[in-house]
Symmetry: C2
């Protein structure tokens, strides 16, 4: 899923868009950085990485870009406790395991064929829009 400032496919008069989002240089670079190193960086981490390619970018812009990417479902925002938000380009439904020993956050997939309703006693009539599963623990390797 490489993003490219693709050819001018101007249906209604718009230009290079991904998921209806105009792909500016800054958004491109923020997205590229997220794909390049999938270690759940914070906004500030992203800021520092993006500065290599765009030395004049501002932190506010990084926040703007991340917000735009999240709003257009290209990136997920991951909140852990009250820590700074982290960002994740893995769009599959998944949870996160935060290893307290190393600080590393691992993606955790659902077992195949499992749905939330199999697991939880949801309120009647509940329509779920978004699921967040966060685990904290240690990796005790044998």
């Amino acid at each position: 899923m490489l993003l490219q400032p693709s050819s001018k496919r101007t249906t209604c008069g718009t230009a290079d868009e991904v998921s209806g989002l105009r792909m500016t240089r800054q958004r491109q670079e923020v997205y590229r950085v997220l794909l390049a190193q999938r270690d759940h960086p914070t906004a500030n981490d992203v800021f520092m990485r993006v500065k290599d390619g765009l030395p004049n970018i501002s932190l506010a812009t990084v926040y703007n870009c991340l917000e735009a990417l999240v709003a257009h479902n290209l990136v997920r925002q991951v909140n852990f406790e009250r820590e700074p938000s982290r960002y994740c380009p893995n769009l599959e439904e998944h949870g996160h395991f935060h290893d307290q020993g190393t600080g590393v956050i691992h993606d955790v997939k659902f077992k195949p064929g499992i749905t939330l309703a199999d697991v939880l006693e949801l309120p009647r009539g509940a329509v779920i829009q978004d699921v967040e599963i966060n685990l904290r623990g240690q990796l005790r390797l044998a």
Copy 2:
């Protein structure tokens, strides 16, 4: 030495501890407020409620009390997105469903006999200390 219930001081008397936590007047009141209205209040909500009984309590103390209660596993801290933390005296393992329509947070129980390992592909050797499950959605009542 004979001890009579001292009528002068607080009704709670001396040095009673719960889970190794000294139960001061302030901690008692914070805890009581949480038990009385289980609507997942924020620290500030708790502050306002506690002021009825303890008009001189400070917000910092409410934070301290909540922290102490959480540390001693009498209360759970619930974090939703980047919103202010909420507090919950329900100690059963459970998740939270945040109804976007009303803003109400509902506790969500696991179905009986379900364990995390049934559902998630945990990393090998992962020892889970804490689980957080947050759902966002709407209640569409038929």
